[in-house]
């Protein structure tokens, strides 16, 4: 595989079909070492299939995978000794305790010390419940135990599928901190999620997949800088004039009225051009009463994935508001991310 130096994980032309349904259609991922990589995609885009292929649970029809700099083919299962994974929902023996489950899981794959199990139970906050049967655990507790299970072998590469599922807010923050800490220690964390806000605050690099193909990949900051939003508020009767004034700064499709009655406009520009927007308006005698700038992963995601739920069989959640899923004009610019 060429061009994969310095990558913890790379796929090239990965293909996988389930019957006539194509789940992966030539997926090329490049996950640098030592980062938190956010793997995003709509339902049915191929995220879980990718995770399954990367953990040897299903076999790809074509393409190649490289894990920690080495080819990962069928039969190379020992490559996974350095990989920790939580694929789909965490799975355990319901009649065993949390501690016993980790101990029995540790009997497979790479050897793990008993001390490590206790450390992980402590890390995920399950020390007090370590002796309780997993069948009595809540979903969030199972999820925490699943994260502990993924960390059993102190992996260099961690693959997590929707790790925030079922976690309470404190659990999500703790999980995020843990993953950031792992990345700071040089480990690579590959997180598949549909929680864009979570990925936006956690990931260094993002890959967006749609219909089994990678549609965008790169450092999050870089991607978001191309997806900046400047929101400006003028008097409602000056909205049309403001649009005309700002037209030279941005193409018309990137200039939207967010709320005409309140006088809010959104201009899709790099956030460092907010001052320029203000200056331009002032130059034409239109004074802004409000100005916000920020970036929006959600906007980028919807733009790249076409705002579709899926194209491969899981159906589409249309929503009650607009048939296009809030794409473009209806999208809340700068939502939750105002700088």
């Amino acid at each position: 595989m060429s061009g994969t130096d310095g990558l913890a994980l790379a796929t090239r032309g990965l293909r996988k079909s389930y019957g006539s349904r194509r789940a992966l259609d030539g997926l090329d991922l490049s996950v640098p070492a030592g980062v938190v990589y956010g793997f995003l995609g709509p339902n049915g885009a191929g995220k879980t299939t990718t995770m399954r292929v990367l953990t040897g649970l299903v076999h790809a029809d074509g393409g190649s995978v490289e894990v920690l700099g080495q080819p990962f083919k069928r039969g190379d299962r020992r490559r996974l000794f350095e990989v920790g994974a939580l694929v789909e929902s965490p799975t355990f023996y319901p009649y065993l305790s949390a501690r016993a489950n980790l101990r029995e899981l540790a009997a497979s794959g790479a050897p793990v010390s008993a001390k490590r199990i206790e450390e992980l139970l402590d890390l995920v906050g399950l020390c007090d419940r370590a002796g309780d049967k997993v069948q009595d655990f809540s979903m969030g507790m199972k999820q925490r135990l699943g994260i502990a299970a993924a960390l059993l072998s102190d992996p260099k590469l961690l693959l997590l599928d929707e790790p925030a599922n079922g976690l309470d807010p404190a659990g999500i923050v703790a999980m995020r901190d843990t993953l950031r800490t792992l990345a700071s220690q040089g480990k690579t964390v590959f997180v598949s999620s549909h929680l864009l806000a979570e990925i936006q605050v956690m990931a260094d690099v993002v890959g967006i997949i749609a219909a089994g193909k990678l549609v965008r990949e790169g450092p999050l900051k870089e991607l978001l800088s191309m997806q900046g939003v400047v929101k400006v508020r003028v008097r409602p009767n000056l909205v049309d004039a403001a649009i005309a004034t700002l037209a030279p700064l941005a193409p018309v499709e990137r200039l939207t009225e967010t709320d005409r009655e309140e006088g809010w406009l959104s201009v899709h520009l790099a956030t460092d051009r907010a001052e320029e927007v203000n200056q331009k308006l002032a130059g034409d005698g239109i004074y802004a009463s409000g100005l916000e700038s920020g970036t929006d992963l959600e906007m980028l995601f919807l733009e790249l994935t076409g705002g579709q739920g899926t194209s491969s069989g899981e159906g589409e959640f249309v929503g009650l508001g607009s048939p296009n899923g809030g794409q473009n004009g209806g999208a809340p610019a700068g939502k939750g991310t105002a700088a």
Partner: protein, 273 residues
């Protein structure tokens, strides 16, 4: 070795282990004690003499050793098949196989060592059930007023280890069948249901197709321990069976074939869900 020991630890804590074993031993003790308590009262009834002879046969040592063992292995075979199906099916439906594979464990090794741990549990179960059954038989014999002087018969006792070993292999073959069906079905319930259907289906088919059924897994398992060339079916009909040595060979064939299917399917299966 750690995977095998892990399998044993998991099974030793699993409710299915205790339920299956408890049912087998409970039924065994209940029947033997009931036979002992009623052995003498059946003499005056119609067919009572015949039943009395059968009851005394079950309670009279040293022959009781073999009767009890046949009883354990007969009923135990069905229970072992259900047990094997429950264990294999849960590995798929609970997703625990998935977790092990994602850690880099070999699917084939995992499944075969899981079966090996079942084998150890079955061996322990047979020995304990046999000891409990012998104790129950002694109690039953005392209740029936039958002498237990044959308990120490050296010839019978000397042959017991070999019969226990053969019985274990036969029960393992039946467990392997359940294990295989559940692996193919990827489900505990489907595995157990299909296994039971197969068990009774084979028994039923023996009425119409005795020359074929005698080669089938449950028939060869029973024949491997029998002393004659025919056995009595549930309806009282005489069913042709294979000679014990030939049957034992076929038991091995079924056992190995079942495990081969498990290995092949596990290796190729797509682990989803």
């Amino acid at each position: 070795m750690r995977l095998f020991l892990s399998g044993v630890r998991k099974l030793s804590r699993r409710p299915a282990t205790f339920v299956t074993f408890g049912l087998l031993v409970g039924l065994l003790v209940l029947i033997v004690i009931a036979v002992g308590a009623t052995a003498n009262s059946t003499v005056g009834n119609s067919n009572g003499a015949q039943r009395g002879v059968a009851a005394r046969d079950l309670l009279t040592f040293p022959g009781a050793y073999n009767r009890v063992l046949e009883f354990i292995l007969g009923l135990g075979g069905l229970f072992a098949m259900i047990y094997g199906a429950a264990i294999a099916g849960s590995e798929w439906s609970w997703g625990t196989l998935k977790s092990a594979v994602a850690r880099g464990e070999s699917r084939v090794r995992y499944m075969l060592l899981t079966f090996a741990s079942i084998g150890l549990m079955i061996a322990i179960g047979i020995v304990i059930a046999f000891v409990v059954a012998v104790v129950a038989d002694i109690i039953g014999a005392n209740l029936a007023g039958i002498s237990t002087s044959g308990l120490g018969d050296t010839a019978t006792l000397g042959g017991l280890p070999e019969r226990l070993l053969k019985g274990w292999v036969a029960v393992m073959e039946e467990a392997a069948l359940g294990f295989t069906i559940a692996t193919l079905a990827r489900s505990q319930l489907a595995g157990i249901g299909a296994g039971i259907a197969f068990y009774f289906g084979e028994s039923f088919a023996s009425i119409f197709l005795p020359d074929i059924v005698k080669y089938m897994p449950f028939s060869v398992a029973n024949a491997a321990l029998s002393s004659g060339s025919a056995s009595v079916g549930s309806g009282g009909s005489v069913i042709a069976t294979l000679p014990p040595d030939e049957a034992l060979l076929l038991v091995f064939v079924w056992l190995i074939a079942s495990l081969f299917v498990v290995a092949l399917f596990s290796d190729r299966a797509e682990i989803t869900g």
